[in-house]
Symmetry: C2
Subunit: 521 residues, 2 copies
């Protein structure tokens, strides 16, 4: 303890915080606990619980965020004046409404009407298309109520609307039966991953390997760990704006100890913000075919494309355009109402749409999800409002397109701002944010800082990000939570804070970074 205190003397006010962080670390594997005398030992202890729960990590909601919440509480307490900032800026999670983005009126009016149909009678100043759609959706609910269970795959009308949306987008037919509505894309992704689990596996057998990008969204690493699958990371090519590199995919597959069965692609990228080119996707499809891989295509940011010349291409569209044998690959595509211009994270609406899945496997998939009954009806309805939106001439169209455009334009502005601002800071490099809602800047950390982090037993980027939070109130997520090439350090920041807070955040960051460098160089 004394040694640690000596080592950290250069930033004394961080000592307490850093120690607090270590003690609250979720990776703790303490194996002894105090027991009151005579008290029975607990059934569930760290020694007896599912070990994969112990080892899984979910950085987006990890100890940095826990600490940010504590600081927020402190700001409203008597001890607020002990903090060197007056607000916490949470740029840790893609949660647009939490950052002040307003809901899309079209979605909310319909949810309100479906929730309380009496409003449709009394509240006659709601637009006709809202009233009609709400009535249509209610008729699609058992007993005409959002309080009834739906089929586990979701309401048929909504599955049909999803299929029509996918068909319009891709100009490729889509069968409503291939669509399963879910409580956000995360639930659907986890459900599909479960099909690959090999229970009862022992040391002599291989785990099913799932290729995931590095850096990746930690839903994948956390779920792969929880499900005892094998993570096979492939590095994205940072210098090439985080594109997928075919040699690297081959290397990752070749060197993997697992029996690789699937590849995850996130496009537009999270946390990296790239939008994959047509050529890049075609190469990935060829790779998946060559090695017989199931494709997870995480396309939840398909509406979030900002860069000039960048365009979203769905995997299924390109697979069909490439023709045989590529159009027969097994593909699960995911979408959500949580991102895009909607940002309806809290309503939990999403879907998976399958292509070329073995029909017998699909029967099993549907059986498996039936044990969860169904996803929330109001979340399903939010998803419906996204895929079946007003068209020109409809009463709600003008407001809907205005709200949508404003959100997307503002995100575009921040995407441009963030790249420029980070690249102006010494020792920080930030690739262009072409899409999605994040930047993933690379930070050159001084050797002394890296050494100090190692002494404390934490990742250097964690050490850096923790100090950023303690000193400025800015909450971002360390790159190690997403994965990065060894010896490189990054953090993920969202581009969601409103422009004025966003500029404040960049200013706080710049000043902190200079102090940090001065302190350790």
């Amino acid at each position: 303890m004394m040694m640690m205190m000596l080592k950290t003397r250069r930033t004394p006010k961080n000592i307490v915080a850093t120690l607090a962080l270590l003690s609250s670390s979720t990776t703790s594997t303490a194996t002894t606990r105090n027991m009151s005398s005579g008290q029975q030992k607990k059934v569930l202890t760290l020694d007896t619980i599912n070990p994969n729960v112990l080892t899984m990590e979910y950085a987006v909601r990890g100890p940095i965020v826990t600490r940010a919440v504590e600081l927020e509480k402190q700001l409203t307490s008597k001890e607020a004046d002990q903090l060197p900032f007056c607000s916490v800026i949470k740029a840790n999670i893609g949660d647009a409404h939490a950052m002040g983005q307003r809901p899309i009126t079209w979605i909310r009016q319909i949810i309100a009407c479906v929730s309380e149909p009496e409003l449709m009678k009394k509240h006659s100043n709601l637009p006709d298309d809202v009233l009609q759609k709400a009535a249509l959706l209610l008729r699609a609910c058992a007993g005409g109520s959002a309080g009834a269970y739906t089929q586990s795959v979701g309401i048929d009308l909504i599955r049909t609307h999803v299929a029509q949306f996918v068909e319009r987008r891709d100009r490729v037919p889509c069968d409503p039966e291939s669509v399963c509505i879910s409580g956000g894309a995360s639930e659907a992704i986890r459900n599909v991953l479960k099909l690959f689990i090999r229970p009862g596996i022992n040391a002599g057998c291989k785990k099913a390997g799932i290729m995931v990008p590095i850096p990746q969204y930690p839903l994948y690493s956390a779920s792969i760990e929880e499900f005892n699958l094998g993570q096979v990371g492939y590095y994205l090519d940072e210098e090439n704006n985080w594109a997928l590199d075919m040699d690297e995919l081959e290397r990752a597959l070749r060197e993997s100890p697992h029996d690789v069965k699937a590849i995850v692609v996130i496009n537009p990228g999270n946390p990296t913000g790239q939008v994959l080119s047509r050529t890049n996707i075609e190469d990935i499809v060829r790779f998946a075919h060559k090695h017989r891989l199931f494709i997870f295509s995480d396309e939840v940011y398909q509406e979030n494309v900002y860069a000039e010349g960048a365009e979203f291409h769905s995997f299924r569209k390109l697979m069909v355009e490439m023709g045989a044998p590529y159009d027969k690959l097994e593909l699960a595509s995911f979408y959500s109402c949580s991102k895009g211009y909607m940002g309806e994270c809290g309503l939990r609406g999403g879907y998976v749409q399958f292509d070329n899945m073995d029909p017998e496997v699909y029967v099993q998939f549907k059986k498996m999800i039936s044990a969860k009954l169904c996803s929330t009806v109001l979340g399903q309805i939010a998803m419906d409002c996204v895929v079946d939106h007003p068209n020109p001439g409809d009463p709600s169209y003008d407001l809907w397109i205005k709200e949508k455009t404003e959100v997307l334009n503002s995100l575009k502005k921040r995407a441009q701002l963030v790249t420029k601002a980070y690249n102006q800071v010494e020792g920080v490099q930030c690739q262009q944010v072409q899409g999605a809602m994040y930047a993933f800047p690379r930070v050159s950390l001084p050797d002394a800082a890296i050494a100090e982090a190692k002494t404390l037993g934490v990742e250097p980027d964690f050490f850096y990000v923790k100090q950023l939070l303690e000193e400025t109130g800015v909450c971002v997520v360390p790159g190690s939570g997403f994965g990065q090439r060894p010896g490189t350090f990054h953090f993920r920041t969202t581009i969601l804070p409103p422009i004025d807070i966003f500029e404040d955040m960049l200013n706080r960051f710049g000043a902190f970074h200079q102090r940090f460098l001065a302190n350790y160089e």
Copy 2:
């Protein structure tokens, strides 16, 4: 094939249906599939997917229900007149709104206001307590929007309301920190079960055993199978109105090949409708203590108690009243907005509340659920409206208590009716429905029917229930989906159809049963 046709000659119109049922059975384990020539073998096939998904069953949404949905569709088609009934009566699932129960106004008004806060301005004829509560809940949402993520454990205000509700009910303090809001009780139950998983287990090791009642709600058997845990069934004592018998608990534990770690108790019972006595619960608590078991207390039907003299006692209340050492047992209690008088299944609101959990394990639990982000905010709000309802004198009280009382009185009436009606049928025995929403009558099946079912490779109660559906449109779930003593046959029916339909259902059943007996005796 010919043999099967000969065997079923007595009920020729069932042949097609029975064969259809066999071909659509989710237990199919076909291992060969036709491949178009030149086509790559699929990555996911029945040979390669998670084998626990293959073996899990979820009868409440199984093939009988799939067939009922088909028949419903046929009734709206040109081929409707080929069916010997004009409506399908779905008594297979505890889905009150689907059966015509109306939503509680208090819940729906608040959800509508939270969804579209503009309504609170324009729509001034909403009661003040609705407006105030909606405003309070909105302030508890990040960014003042139901579209923001919440903490994974749920909104703090709602956790506090749950703790206050539990405290009022039990007269035992309850810490809001011990409450995790979930997307229905099912999600919470599955999350807690996951803590017991032993991945990488092989033939030489024991699985963690979970004691579940037989008959049980198939969420447990399905999840235990999916998670590769060991199910340890204990038979409920049918002749003693489905009470728990201590000798039987000891027998089940003693004979189990698994390392038994937990016991599940469903009170009031599903599918069996019993309400456990104080003495019975105390015995179970002693048993859990003796064998060091974690208790899952599934109390989702706590509002649904109908029988004279029956009373709901929560496990946590009785554990505390019993004092040391019983008040230190690890307990997870589950509740939901899907049942009770609310019946809000589609909104997906529920919670788990823990007592005596190891704090370090709880940290891990919270980390694990964080990978699922959060449960639906509107579902959380529905749960809040249940635990924090209007009180006498509040503007919404009169309507709320009227709606609540009407639902519960009507359920009580049906609970009495169902027991009486089934017991009047020859060869049918039905225990008193003391609580919950189901009856689980026992049917004496003729030997010839049992033999024919075995020839067809289906369970005799499945065979019976399938014919009931095909001939009368009444959809119930075979007892084998819940488990039953060998050689006994049951089915589960809900008591949810409205009185007139309910009586129609009992009439259809009685006539069918007579025909069935005449046919096979």
